[in-house]
Point group: C2
Chain length 441, copies 2
Amino acid sequence: MSRIEPRTFRGARDFLPAEMIRREGLFAYLREVFQRHGFAPIETPAIEYLEVLLGKYGSEGEKLIYPLAYKGGTTAALRYDLTVPLARVVAQYRDLPRPFKRYQMQPVWRADTPTIHQGRYREFYQCDADIVGEASPLADAEILSMIGEVIAGLGVGNFTVRVNHRAVLEGMVGAAGLPPEANRAVLRAIDKFDKVGLAGVEKELEKEGIEDMPRSKLLDLLALPSGGREAILALADRWSGEPRIGEGAAELLRIWQALEQISPDLGRFQFCLTLARGLDYYTGAVFESFIDDLPHMGSLSGGGRYDDLVGVFSEESLPAVGTTIGLDRIFSALEQLGQAGGTPTRTQVMVLQFGPESEGPALRTLRRLRQSGLRAEVWYRPERLGKQIQQADKRGVPLVLFQGPDEAAAGIWTLKVLTSGEQIQIPEADLEARVRALATP
Amino acid sequence: MSRIEPRTFRGARDFLPAEMIRREGLFAYLREVFQRHGFAPIETPAIEYLEVLLGKYGSEGEKLIYPLAYKGGTTAALRYDLTVPLARVVAQYRDLPRPFKRYQMQPVWRADTPTIHQGRYREFYQCDADIVGEASPLADAEILSMIGEVIAGLGVGNFTVRVNHRAVLEGMVGAAGLPPEANRAVLRAIDKFDKVGLAGVEKELEKEGIEDMPRSKLLDLLALPSGGREAILALADRWSGEPRIGEGAAELLRIWQALEQISPDLGRFQFCLTLARGLDYYTGAVFESFIDDLPHMGSLSGGGRYDDLVGVFSEESLPAVGTTIGLDRIFSALEQLGQAGGTPTRTQVMVLQFGPESEGPALRTLRRLRQSGLRAEVWYRPERLGKQIQQADKRGVPLVLFQGPDEAAAGIWTLKVLTSGEQIQIPEADLEARVRALATP
């Protein structure tokens, strides 16, 4: 075989141990929070029939679907997100409980031109939690409360979860004197607020062909203050004549009423008129979360209510609400805030070989340490002790254990703490307990 | 949008909650055993450049590589296994520690005609553990010892790990008077032993064109007894004139010597001449494990030493040894042995709503339970209590908690244990502690 250059597929990533250990920690944490909130896991295949995926993501999104070539034809593709597969699953398995609360953490693929410095990848994980089959605003509140608890536990400082409602946004379009056909163009313009600000949204509205009068009315509305329950009440008060605004505000108030009881992070939730969310399929509340100290990073999570998506696969239409949590954004935030930490190994102790005749005792000790539940390694070769210690240190193992001939005769081991250089003599019988007392958790 | 039939891609699977909870449990268990043995996690992308994958799996395997269609060209494909990506990673990242001990649990894809009743899928998980950069037989012993601990902890009863060595097999070919060119054909025939027995291997050898005399010599050899150290010694003794047999036996004895110290399951390992392993790339020890009570199920794990694979991507050749553990086989074994268990939810308690005015207290209680670490849900609607209890029971939630108006006035909740029907009155202040005492872990 001729030599092949080892290269990672462009736009995809290898996760090496230090990063994977952090990722596994985050996955375990998310699983714990999801399960504490009564969500159950599912997984779906990477490959879906093309017809399942088409017609869901808008024309721009659809171009990014990654098709598979199989025996000359293309009938299947890699999944684009986790929401459409969930809708398929709920329509396909009729005996799933309802409401169906599921979480799912799997990669998705986009046939995009990767711009890695902006964090756009062709392959990346999504992490979704959704409640399907429940129209009650309690379900919206539960998703929101869970997002709050997820972010609060990350240790990224203060954060804000912005909440809006599609009915409020559509009511604003009406209040500005525009027909419902203008909804999509206006939402598209508002969706850019985070990047371009209010002046930028004005330009976008102009580009979309919205005339002076309705444009300035929309800008007036968008300038209304964000806030909690009182901000929603102020909006409803001022626009009591617009039924869609009243409808959206009433549902937001019901969500807030539940949040006030259920969420330990009530102060983090803000009703915010400038939040729109790009996707077509939302029908009710929409929300995104942001880290206060990283205002330019973009949202950590985004979601909302989408009551019509399951109906694409089923005669029965099922209301649904959910969120996607951006794992890559979380890691990026932890790194920017100096919270990433991370070690390339979880090994607690390495047993060294003093000489060829020490292989037996070293392996027996290794076995004892492992059987007591400690994470332990052995250095495979009876090399110079200094070299073995250096290797353990280089890979981040905090403790080493060895036994010279005199110690062997006396039934004693030496434990060296590599961070401090301290050396401790331990009688053979106490090995597990003494190592455990000094080991990282 | 017209209605689309919800269908899972043929040869792939949806994992619904009951199954996913079992799978997450198994993944967590495997991670724990791997880390206890000093292995660190990595992940690689689903998509690899085609040139990385080609020329590694033999002509039959290569046909099953799943290419992607992108902008008219095909330069990338889905990964076929986890071993070739590992070889790429080790060649690509020169500063990884050596020996590099890694585990990896990710799906792989085969563009196969799926025969699901035989457990052949187009998409399935592999779970690999390998040591790269270490030629010492201690590394082989460590992989073997870890396989033993993985299987012993599964609760599938007695098991056997069969071990052989490619040098022994090649030495047998020489001892039978055949040239080295016959190695591949003979190994291919022996590899079928599990399915066809000794008589079947004889037929296969005949088909491969091996003549009477060498064939009967090979069959004599294959009939030698399996066993531990003494079986290896017996072979080495009888064939001391065949240097390849002596070489292989000496390395196996070194592996056994380490196993005797390191493994709590020594009795499970058997030197076995009829084990060959299909893949071309093995160069030393080869091994497979079997459950004694399920003799027809095939192997739970398979692996061996492959010292030349990394050299395909790098000027530096690195010795390597590792194993793949078959997750689907493990689940199938647990099911056949009635050990699969499984619940569709991990929720410990569901809070019910007695009436519309109980939403506030129900949500506040929910919040308290969750903040104490309990996995808790609320039923979203103040429906008839009987219906709510039925729903909790149907989804496998073992405890429900509710409060009627009189109880609310007295500051008391009722906890009902759904498995026994028992009802207990609990003062509000003791809720967390009392629920925890009765909750599943």
